[in-house]
């Protein structure tokens, strides 16, 4: 083996080091004020689709119910697997015991829906403020309904969680009930974060080809089929907003595999290679397995690059996906990052992503909406990624936008979705150029 080869290998090892020694701290603009973001309850919209045997019962107000139906857009299901137990005056005035009322509602629900195997009691702003103990309720009701129905609880309240943090809270409530992986079991891989089934299947196929066949997913499609976790679990985060879940998993002995998030060619390659390394897979095999996907994604992105290169983009805080998506748009499509706003910045999980940002990227955490909109108006980026409440008003001011929520609901991870992801940003720009009215 040549010296150069060894050096190359060493360099790669160093690059994987989670804590770069002398990286200067990047300035972060932290703001506080009005936030134009959804609360954590919104995660129910995709979580209930992912976990097909689970039901989400929000214990909250009419506002919570209204939020869910508004965020879900049109209600097309006969009876979706979520509902709200709306607290009323008599629940608050102590005329009835809220816990008794909850028992009544849950018993009725479970009677009517025998297909439910896991029930999440989801806390909301009002239930948190009146300190309605849903953990106690879950325990009490669980004692009655197990083993048919497992009852868990988490909070998706807006006073504690922002949008995708609802998924984090939900998944961390599942961690304690995951079966234990025996200490002497061979090493297992766990993919953490809900992915569309089609994307999950793509990743599972790639891991199988690499020779990693013990792969679990959290959440599992069937909430009662939870994967095991233990000291021999190595987990890969598929989503950047899972800080609590990661801590809970580490509490059960699992270790995180440090990687970029699987967006675009670079992100997906890095994510898969990191898993390969952690499982001692021959790097040559890994490269061989990922080569076709890389090539396909590169080809597809080449068509879109001319439309996006040099275009300036601002992200308003929304889903915490902002940082890895911005990295993808900058590195693989040549976009210029003006401001990358995120509701919450998980420094450890995003360290490698942030390292890739150019020096002039304005990074902001939290939100003061009016000030941030002032910056958008001053910057006049070519495209602004924002929530549904802001998109039309900004378009009305002549600024092209991309609704952030689509990034959460569309399959965007992995090689074969890289171009779809880029297209989400290219389409509004193309449309702006097409229209002559």
């Amino acid at each position: 083996m040549s010296a150069a080869g060894i050096l190359d290998g060493c360099a790669a090892e160093i690059a994987r080091d989670p804590a770069p020694v002398a990286a200067p701290a990047r300035p972060i603009l932290r703001e506080r004020g009005q936030r134009e973001v959804f609360c954590g309850l919104t995660g129910i919209i995709w979580l209930h689709r992912k976990m097909q045997d689970a039901f989400f019962l929000v214990v909250g107000s009419r506002t919570c119910a209204h939020l869910l139906q508004s965020a879900a857009g049109v209600m097309i299901f006969a009876e979706p697997r979520f509902a709200t137990a709306i607290m009323e005056e008599r629940d608050l005035a102590g005329m009835v015991d809220a816990q008794d009322e909850l028992d009544r509602v849950v018993n009725r629900l479970l009677e009517r829906r025998p297909d439910i195997r896991t029930l999440f009691l989801v806390g909301s702003c009002p239930s948190e403020v009146i300190k309605l103990d849903l953990a106690k309720a879950a325990q009490r009701l669980g004692a009655v309904h197990m083993p048919r129905v497992r009852i868990l609880n988490y909070s998706g309240s807006g006073i504690e969680t922002t949008f995708t943090q609802g998924e984090d809270a939900c998944l961390s409530s599942l961690v304690p009930v995951m079966p234990a992986l025996p200490a002497d079991a061979p090493r297992e891989l766990l993919i953490v974060g809900s992915l569309p089934d089609i994307v999950e299947d793509q990743f599972l196929r790639l891991f199988a080809e690499m020779g990693i066949d013990k792969v679990g997913c959290l959440p599992a499609r069937n909430a009662r089929d939870l994967p095991s976790v233990g000291a021999n679990t190595r987990y890969l985060l598929a989503q950047p907003f899972l800080g609590e879940t990661a801590m809970a998993l580490e509490g059960r002995g699992a270790q995180r595999i440090e990687a970029l998030f699987p967006f675009g060619v670079d992100g997906t390659s890095d994510w898969l290679r990191a898993a390969g390394e952690a499982f001692g897979i021959d790097p040559a095999l890994t490269e061989q397995v990922i080569a076709p996907g890389r090539a396909r994604a590169a080809r597809a992105l080449a068509n879109l690059r001319p439309q996006l290169t040099g275009k300036r983009i601002t992200f308003l805080p929304d889903s915490q996906l902002e940082v890895p998506l911005a990295r993808f748009l900058q590195d693989e499509l040549g976009m210029e990052l003006v401001e990358v706003g995120t509701p919450y910045l998980h420094r450890a999980h995003l360290a490698r992503e942030l390292d890739r940002f150019g020096p002039n990227v304005r990074l902001s955490e939290g939100q003061h909406l009016d000030r941030q909109l002032d910056r958008v108006r001053a910057d006049r980026p070519d495209i602004t990624v924002c929530g549904l409440g802001l998109a039309n008003p900004l378009e009305g001011e002549g600024l092209t936008t991309k609704w952030a929520i689509e990034l959460v609901f569309s399959p965007i991870h992995g090689f074969d979705q890289a171009a779809d992801l880029a297209e989400l940003f290219a389409r509004p720009l193309r449309r702006r150029d097409m229209l002559e009215i």
């Binding site: 134009e36 973001v37 119910a65 209600m75 702003c125 802001l390």
Partner: protein, 523 residues
């Protein structure tokens, strides 16, 4: 606690937002946690507004509780007033802030803000969206109206009216307003003020100079109109001009209060609905069974039009607004049906399935229910979705509104001439009735999973081999006969026949049963 999957109305502060968003130069400071901002998207996405609703959300978090949420409110209010320079602000709490009892009214009073502050008490755990809108509008009017205003004598000037009720996110409010203005112009009545839509707080101060009020949407404007009646001695026109007959009554009522001649408005030549309804193609509409659900005002108006102007049979009528249930009960009595007063859409779904109507008139939710049941549907009331904020002029009120209603309700049905042709050609081997009606595929009855319609076989013989033959109890011969019935009534014929067979204790459905059932259900 009430278990809800879908709600017809949002919380009361959303009603307040509808009023604030409709007005100009008014700002709403809402004490609320993050997440409550979702309500903005109702206006910007569903109604496609190009401006943010004029609402500042204080966005308090768990860690602020018990410490400085009051300070957060005051900072937000001060900043909002400085930035947006409103002529007045309304202040209040959403459901969560109501629980922490920061008293936005007292807090903002203590701040000495440079504009009038109107405090709102909207009990989130008792009341809902429409009530919130009505209360907000009432408070705005009560707080801002110049009570010292003396009306000029009526002699020598045109009569003046206020048009009250249109808001943001209202079902066709924008277009109804155009029609009402048209009628008032024909009657020579001046519009003193339209509110809330397009009014500024300063405009509201001169609400007392009108001679009378027109209450277009009682769910929103009735409360304010009653106060105006008392305070300024302004009578109110409460006839809702939806439908030809109601429009005529409305014109007569306005003309009487204005001392005007109703003839020019009554003679509007663009009123085509009466002839469209009389023309022979509409004969097929006779006694079509229609199920109606919505807010009280629109549901009652729809029932009247259905009965009197289209010759339908109302087989179900209800509303989700308890506050206005009385009107619905009275109309239900005239229709000879049990009124359905509920905000539980599952109860509505059950009632629709049981009534087996040929047309459903309802809200966005009934649209989905009807789609699932394979029944044609038209939307008549809020809550509605993005497709019910059309680009074109599409009112419900006035003679043009009646024209629009005729088209909208009849469109999802199979037209008379088409029904005739379908019957003529259904034996033709080239005619595939699986294709459905020639228009509006989205509304045409589809094979829904609700019924066990056998998937389109190539030849009739395939039907006899269908796997579920034994389960349904249909003989091959009866099944073949059923296929000869036009597709748009076939599902109903199947259901009726099966219900008849079950009630009559017949295990097998043969030709005899099919025709016995037909005779049984004949009308």
């Amino acid at each position: 606690m009430q278990l809800a999957v879908w709600t017809y109305e949002g919380p009361p502060h959303v009603g307040a937002m509808r009023v604030a968003t409709a007005m100009e130069k008014l700002h709403y400071v809402l004490h609320a946690p993050q997440g409550d901002t979702y309500a903005d998207l109702l206006f910007t996405m569903i109604e496609r507004r190009g401006k943010r609703p004029p609402v500042t959300y204080t966005t308090f978090e768990a860690r602020d509780l018990g410490k400085d949420t009051a300070q957060i409110f005051q900072d937000a209010a001060r900043e909002a007033v400085a930035r947006f320079k409103p002529q007045a602000i309304i202040v209040g709490a959403s459901c969560t802030a109501e629980l922490i009892q920061d008293d936005p009214a007292g807090l903002s009073e203590a701040m000495g803000l440079p504009c009038p502050v109107i405090p709102l008490e909207l009990p989130s755990y008792q009341r809902k969206e429409n009530w919130g809108a009505a209360e907000t509008f009432y408070q705005i009017v009560r707080n801002l109206a110049d009570k010292s205003l003396v009306r000029e004598p009526r002699e020598g000037r045109a009569a003046r009216a206020n048009i009250l009720g249109p808001t943001a996110l209202g079902f066709r409010h924008r277009d109804d307003l155009v029609e009402i203005r048209k009628i008032l112009a024909l009657l020579g009545v001046e519009v003193n003020l339209v509110a809330p839509l397009g009014a500024t707080p300063e405009d509201i101060t001169r609400i007392g100079s009108a001679d009378f009020n027109i209450v277009l949407y009682p769910e929103i404007a009735d409360e304010a109109a009653r106060w105006l009646e008392k305070t300024f001695d302004q009578p109110a026109v409460r006839t809702i001009p939806i439908g030809v007959g109601a429009t005529r009554s409305f014109i007569a009522d306005v003309a009487e209060l204005a001392g005007a001649d109703p003839t020019p408005a009554l003679g509007d030549t663009s009123s085509r609905m009466p002839w469209w309804s009389r023309s022979v193609d509409s004969t097929y509409l006779t006694s079509k069974r229609v199920f109606i659900f919505g807010d009280a005002t629109h549901a009652v108006a729809a029932a009247r039009i259905a009965r009197e102007e289209l010759g339908f049979e109302v087989c179900g009528l209800g509303c989700y607004s308890r506050e206005f249930a009385r009107e619905v009960r009275a109309e239900a009595a005239r229709c000879g049906v049990e009124p359905l007063i509920t905000d539980d859409h599952l109860a509505v779904e059950d009632a629709i399935a049981a009534a087996a109507p040929e047309l459903v008139l309802g809200t966005q939710m009934e649209r989905h229910i009807a789609k699932r049941l394979g029944i044609p549907c038209a939307v008549i009331s809020a809550p509605v979705h993005v497709q019910d904020f059309p680009a074109r002029h599409s009112p419900q009120m006035g003679f043009e509104g009646a024209n629009v209603i005729f088209d909208t309700w009849v469109h999802p049905l199979v037209m008379g001439l088409e029904e005739h042709l379908l019957t003529m050609f259904r034996e033709d081997f080239e005619f595939s009735d699986e294709a459905g009606a020639s228009h509006h595929a989205a509304h045409s009855p589809r094979k829904s999973s609700v019924h066990t319609e056998v998937e389109a076989p190539v030849a009739d013989i395939a039907v006899t081999e269908a796997p579920d033959f034994g389960a349904t109890g249909w003989t091959a011969e009866a099944e073949r006969e059923l296929k000869k019935i036009p597709f748009f009534v076939r599902g109903k014929a199947r259901r009726n026949t099966e219900a008849f067979a079950a009630a009559d204790g017949r295990a097998e459905i043969d030709l005899e049963t099919l025709y016995d059932a037909k005779a049984h259900y004949a009308r």
